[in-house]
């Protein structure tokens, strides 16, 4: 059974004033996607293709104009209170800019405690233990709980954000360009961390990136978003011998070479 499915999702935005409805821009048109439990769906597209809008719709931060988002077979708009709560705790996110995704006045411990505070009633000691466990799980140290965001490096702060995302043992995490701002060495370590967490916790990922190299490493399936629609889906576990949509081949052709091609 699919964990999350998007059927016929469409979204447009108003450009200009509220009372002038003639200037609408279609950001997403008839998007269909599905994610199986424990799987990793990679979503690639150029800037402006609609990836961020799609991630906000999947996270329930925005309502689509048309179409349905089904979590565990139930549409988000038709959920009971209980089901809504279940969806909320099971669908988490890690954003691209770690510094912008945490309150600068919160310590790392407070950042990670926020989801726990909302969904679990834990005693002080229990919560502290859980936070320490989470910090260690993502490769940090329990003493980091008292540090403020500006005291962390980019990679370390992203680990804090990952700890916050896994705090409630979610079934799905949306990774919205989560490794795009990281230096190469740190990026490869975070990718390794995400892969190992997926293995041990069975979390499904919706991995959004403009870098196809990262997606090849992480994803089971690749969906290509082009001008608001999914134009191509590739099963990365099988090797298929066919021609692909030009949007995808264009993206692959633009990939930087691994080593210098012409010597000097």
């Amino acid at each position: 059974m699919t964990l999350l499915s998007l059927k016929g999702i469409g979204k447009s935005y108003q450009r200009g004033s509220m009372w002038d409805s003639s200037n609408r821009v279609d950001v997403l048109k008839n998007v269909n996607l599905s994610i199986a439990p424990g799987a990793c769906l990679g979503l690639i597209g150029r800037s402006g293709a609609g990836k961020s809008t799609l991630s906000r719709i999947v996270l329930g931060l925005e309502r689509p104009d048309t179409g349905e988002v089904d979590y565990d077979g139930v549409s988000l708009t038709k959920m009971t209170c209980e089901q809504s709560r279940g969806y909320r705790r099971n669908c988490q996110v890690v954003f691209q800019n770690s510094l912008g995704s945490v309150n600068p006045r919160f310590t790392a411990g407070q950042v990670i405690a926020e989801p726990l505070h909302n969904f679990e009633s834990m005693e002080r000691k229990q919560a502290k233990q859980k936070i320490d466990d989470l910090l260690e799980k993502v490769g940090l140290h329990p003493s980091d709980a008292d540090k403020y965001p500006h005291q962390f490096s980019g990679g370390e702060l992203q680990r804090v954000c990952i700890a916050r995302a896994i705090a409630l043992n979610p079934r799905l995490i949306v990774l919205d360009e989560a490794v795009s701002s990281l230096d190469m060495v740190i990026q490869s370590k975070i990718i390794a961390l995400l892969k190992s967490l997926q293995k041990t916790m069975g979390i499904a990922y919706l991995f959004i990136s403009h870098d196809i190299r990262v997606l090849m490493k992480m994803a089971d399936t690749l969906a290509v978003l082009h001008e608001g629609t999914v134009v191509e889906t590739v099963d990365l576990k099988k090797s298929e011998n066919r021609s692909y949509h030009p949007a995808l081949t264009e993206l692959v052709a633009a990939v930087l070479p691994p080593v210098p091609v012409f010597g000097n």
């Binding site: 800037s47 230096d183 990262v214 090849m216 490493k217």
Partner: protein, 272 residues
Amino acid sequence: MKDAHLLEVDGLSLCLKTGQQERQVVDNLSFTLQANRILGLIGESGCGKSLSCLAVMRLLPKAIRQTGGTIQFDGQSIDALAFSRMRTIRGRSLAMIMQNPMSCFDAVFTVGEHFKETLASHPDKDSRSNEERIHGSLHAVGFNDPQSILGLYPFQMSGGMLQRAMVALALMMNVKLLIADEPTTDLDVIAQAKVLGLLETIRDTHGMAILLVTHDLGVIARLADDVAVMQEGQIIETGIAAEIFETSRHPYTRELINAHLELYDHRLNTIR
């Protein structure tokens, strides 16, 4: 015979002053750059590569001081040059493009006005009219309809377009050295490919020297002739790009190269 160095940085040291404390951010940096070549300066965030560029441009923030070394550009020592003399060199022979192209343009002026202002700041004996020069350089960077670009405001253009416009400014002034500080980090892969291709063209057809700063080895692999690897304010290795990739034994360089090569999956080749 080796070309004379266009840019020679020798023993550059920079210090950051915060409150009462001083911290060395760049330590004894030395590298050279010749015309017609691209030097890639690679290192992770915070290693001091951007500051080194600003030092060459003499645009360091107030809190950073140069505490040692010399910078020679086109046979002239520029690190101690008078500010007014440096201003004539900057923009005319030396130009810089940066990571966030939007921030390099004044939002209330059109692109055309930026070009006109640059020409007005550096009067020279070029026989062509201003209009010819502007159109020529915009065309050279890939804008097929230069006139339409001139009337646009920066917010109406994409990041990739703005970056190409910045390169056009440098081309128009016929600069000898272009410093590109993470020029494609904020662009998507396709815009990145266009901008990097453009930089390659101006090296080949205009003989410009380019100092290309990046944290992505893919950019180095694509464009750089020579490489300097920076770590924590120091250059730990220099050499020809192809040789560094193949034969470097320095542990930090190898760590970077391995992390970079790890990303490449053979399945990429099947999607053509």
